[in-house]
Amino acid sequence: MTTVVEGAQRGFEESLPVLTRKDFVSDQEVRWCPGCGDYAILAQMQKVLPQLHVPHENIVFISGIGCSSRFPYYVETYGFHSIHGRALTLATGLKTVRPELTVFVITGDGDGMSIGGNHLLHAMRRNIDLNVVLFNNRIYGLTKGQYSPTSEMGKVTKSSPYGSPEHPLNPLRIALAAGATFVARSIDRDTKHLEETLLRATQHKGISFVEVYQNCVIFNDGAFDAFGDREVRQDRMIFLEHGKAVRFGKNREHGIRMNGYLPEVVRDAVSDEGLLIHDATNPNPALASILVELAYPDFPVPIGVFRDVVSPTYDELVAKQVADARAKGPGNFEDLLRSGETWEVQ
């Protein structure tokens, strides 16, 4: 991972005013339910934004519909609260015409994986330089408690009184399949990890996709407790670090290794030998694909950066085509109007 901050990458002057968390708090009253995981994500984002070193007015938040999509009202930047599932399309249009802007897309498991699923695939495939944060609470909150595309099979909700008959999607598997160049996961209650992950995502050039496990206190309370609770977290989650063995446990005493093409847990692995060594920068997504499949209770749940690779971005390529064409000679409109066969009438 690069250590250069985004602002410096983009050539902004060091003389930008120093901003603080408070500069990114809007005058709007936050209306999420008390105890909602969204508060933690908002707070960490407001801490990350001053660290971007980009002009304040160049930051835009775009969202779709859902509890998470209220986010833009609460950050003091430009904001666009759009319609169901379409935030990525607006963001793509905006970034294409204004590549100098830093654009965030805030979405949820319903907005991003269900009604807007197609746009997510194509934004990732294009590798447009957007920062996508998907709040995954495995439930529809704003519409008051129906199962979502990430809800576990058999889940009893208002719209599935006999249990959901649907297989859930794994957002990170989709992200990798679609060719996302930065894929990460974090969890609302580990605020330090969340802040670091969001910061790294924003520093990535190209699309970044961060799934945040987020607790819905009203309709799906405790969805991530089994592995996310403070007491069990070390044993039931893996904190991925690039270049290091994939380990977990209070003293990182356990590890993951491959047995044929399947991963398995190694208890009390003394040496790193034979363990998977995490490599987020490998262009081949095979290792990341194995890691995103690890799920509780069979495995500890990995969080952190799964993939972080460099690839040309859509907005850059589009801008380059225009620049190259203009370098060969900017268009002459009179000539264009007169192109093809013309004739004079006296």
């Binding site: 809007s26 709007q28 002009p55 304040h56 007015e57 160049n58 835009v60 775009i62 833009p72 009202y73 003091e76 930047t77 430009y78 904001g79 666009f80 609260h81 759009s82 319609i83 169901h84 379409r86 990525l88 399309t89 607006l90 963001a91 793509t92 249009g93 905006l94 970034k95 294409t96 015409v97 204004r98 100098e100 802007l101 197609n118 746009h119 695939l121 194509h122 589009v318 085509q321 225009v322 190259d324 064409a325 203009r326 060969k328 000679g329 900017p330 268009g331 409109f333 009179e334 264009l336 109007l337 007169r338 192109s339 093809g340 066969e341 013309t342 004739w343 004079e344 009438v345 006296q346």
Partner: protein, 640 residues
């Protein structure tokens, strides 16, 4: 230019005011090219021209089959021409299938040129002919000229180092040669074109030119033709002309809007017939700073366009009917956020996927009302292919001035049809103005929904401007501040304001012009691509001494401010439309006049004679008029 007319002394020459020719053959026979070449030649000669290409819906239907027939119709004239013609005077049929699918349209007594070399048993069977029409007497109503084009062409190309298939493909140039001769045209334009087109392939060039000349000389030497025809040059406005199709004109008009405003053009689109050509045209224009995005679907194309408008680009999306349905939710977001953008809808026959390659005007009500809530957008509609240029510019002018989405309703007939276009000088074009809000206008507190008192437009505050950070979205806004509001009185006022803003556009759009008597018996009112047929029919009726006026709407929402007054001045109002009466419904609803709809929903444009007949019915000169449809016509669109 009369020197181009080289009429052979051996043939009688008849001077005509107007001729309509249809070239029809298998889709692999190059009929579009033949038609285009004849069109260019006639345009350069100085005729006024209108054309209508027609392709099969299938990309490659089996050779010789009925669905594989491709046609190209053009009308050229010594006077102002408004449509590609009703019934062809001449039909060139390159095989039995082409004959079968087009004969129904040929004027009785018209000239029928057939390639008799293609009327073998196999081809007759593919065209479902029980007996050979060339010998069974079924063509007695027409002047049939049988030429074994296949054989003659083969002989002309004997010894050339190209394959038999390549030789066969030169038949279209042979037939073009015959028709050029028949109308006293030179081969110069086609020779010039071919020399450029085939410059890297001298053998093919040689073959095509030989075929062309052989056809031409065949006409000259054969005894088959008793008469040649002359269509003198038309009196058209001086200037430099080119041919332009509606879709090309639309793309150029949008680029003109970019140049005249100084804003970079963004086009987000998903390929769809018959609108894709706009994407093809604009994607070539990167040297003008145009950015095009081929979206993953219609919805994404709409969203990208909203994002581009939000970012301060000249934002455009384009589609055809079913795509507009998909865009409607996004379009409503643009209505709510009051962002300037243009949506091109090149209409096609619906509902659902309907008939993609056939024309219709049946999306007017979708454009007008196809969204949830009380949601007004501005709607403009070009009247002719070249008018697409002016109306595209106009669509953007309105969008920028009033901060509204504007729908541009073209159709397949306009988009694919073409006509000569007097190229405007760039300094003749209107300047388009816009204003990005700046911190200095805000005076402390920036209110994204504070309005211009005249246009009711809200400020265009694009990201990147200091001091203007704000939030917008699809939820109802509090007037001025733009914060979310569920206040009852506010929603009432905001809804009326959004509707009223669109209504105010009427304050500055041109008044509706009436052709013919300014008051009296009958007004024929139209919109969109029916212009040529309506105006021609009314002209003819007036020439026959009937009191008939015509008027054509290029602004559908809002209507020109004088429309109500115009309607009141006539006893009867007839509205011909390629739908079941959508404009009629709007006119009746808004003005309480008994407008009579005249509907044609066959995928074909109106014929002049059909509107003339309906006029006679309206004037009480004849009984009720019923449309007749020729089932097998190619250009008529009888196929599925």
């Amino acid at each position: 230019m009369t020197t181009e007319s080289q009429v052979h002394p051996d043939h009688a020459v008849e001077t005509l005011d107007r001729v309509t020719i249809r070239f029809a053959g298998d889709s692999g026979d190059g009929m579009q090219l033949t038609g285009t070449q004849f069109t260019r030649t006639s345009a350069v000669f100085g005729n006024d021209i209108a054309t209508l290409p027609d392709y099969p819906a299938e990309i490659r239907a089996p050779t010789g089959s009925l669905p594989g027939v491709s046609g190209f119709q053009l009308s050229f004239s010594s006077t102002d021409i408004l449509t590609p013609g009703d019934q062809p005077d001449v039909l060139v049929a390159m095989n039995p299938a082409a004959l079968k699918t087009n004969l129904g349209d040929l004027r009785p007594g018209g000239l029928l040129i057939v390639d008799e070399g293609e009327f073998g048993e196999a081809n007759l069977r593919k065209a479902a002919y029980a007996s050979n029409p060339l010998i069974d007497g079924s063509l007695a109503r027409w002047q049939v000229i049988r030429i074994n084009i296949t054989r003659q062409n083969e002989l002309a190309l004997e010894g050339l180092p190209i394959s038999a298939k390549q030789k066969f493909q030169c038949r279209n140039f042979y037939s073009l040669g015959i028709v050029l001769w028949l109308y006293g045209r030179t081969m110069e334009t086609t020779v010039k074109w071919a020399s450029d087109r085939f410059r890297r392939n001298p053998d093919i060039l040689d073959a095509n030119l030989r075929a062309l000349k052989a056809g031409y000389h065949f006409g000259e030497t054969t005894e088959l033709f008793h008469t040649r025809f002359e269509v003198p040059a038309a009196h058209v406005r001086p200037g430099t002309y080119r041919h332009i199709s509606g879709n090309e004109a639309t793309a150029l008009g949008c680029l003109a809007a970019s140049i005249q405003s100084g804003l970079p053009l963004f086009y987000g689109s998903y390929p769809i017939t018959p609108a894709s050509d706009v994407l093809h045209e604009l994607s070539k224009l990167k040297n003008f700073g145009v950015k095009t995005a081929q979206a993953e679907d219609e919805i994404a194309a709409m969203g990208m366009t909203i994002g581009a408008a939000y970012g301060g680009a000249l934002a455009l999306t384009g589609t055809s009917g079913p795509g507009l349905a998909l865009k409607s939710e996004g379009l409503n977001l643009a209505v709510m956020t009051e962002l300037p953008l243009v949506i091109i809808n090149v209409q096609r026959a619906g509902p659902s996927t309907g008939m993609p390659t056939k024309t219709e005007q049946s999306d007017l009500l979708q454009a007008m009302f196809g969204r949830n809530g009380d949601s007004a957008v501005a709607i403009v509609a070009p009247a002719t292919p070249a008018d697409c240029f002016a109306m595209a510019l106009e669509a953007f002018r309105i969008a920028l001035k009033y901060m509204v989405p504007v729908i541009f309703l073209s159709d397949g007939y306009l988009g694919n049809g073409s006509e000569p276009w007097r190229i405007p000088a760039v300094d003749e074009l209107p300047k388009l103005t816009y204003h990005f809000a700046a911190e200095s206008d805000a005076g402390g507190q920036f209110n994204p929904y504070e309005r211009d008192p005249v246009t009711l437009a809200r400020p265009w505050a694009i990201p990147g401007q200091k001091g203007l950070m704000h939030r917008i979205g699809g939820l109802e806004k509090s007037g001025a501040t733009g914060d979310i509001s569920y206040d009852p009185g506010n929603h009432h006022r905001m809804t009326l304001t959004r509707m009223g803003k669109v209504a105010r556009i009427a304050q500055e759009i041109p008044s509706l012009q009436v052709e013919g008597p300014q008051q009296g018996e009958l007004l024929v009112l139209g919109w969109g691509s029916t212009y040529g047929a309506i105006a021609s029919a009314c002209e003819r009726a007036r020439a026959d001494g009937k009191s008939v006026a015509s008027a054509h709407l290029r602004y559908l929402n809002p209507f020109p401010a004088n429309l109500g007054d115009v309607l009141k001045r006539f006893k009867k109002v007839l509205i011909p439309e390629m739908n079941t009466g959508q404009l009629s419904l709007l006119v009746r609803g808004q003005f309480l006049v008994e407008a009579v709809p005249f509907s044609k929903i066959s995928g074909q444009p109106f014929k002049i004679v059909e509107i003339e007949a309906k006029i006679d019915e309206m004037l009480g000169l004849t009984g009720p008029f019923e449309l007749q449809f020729s089932p097998a016509s190619v250009l008529g669109g009888g196929r599925s």
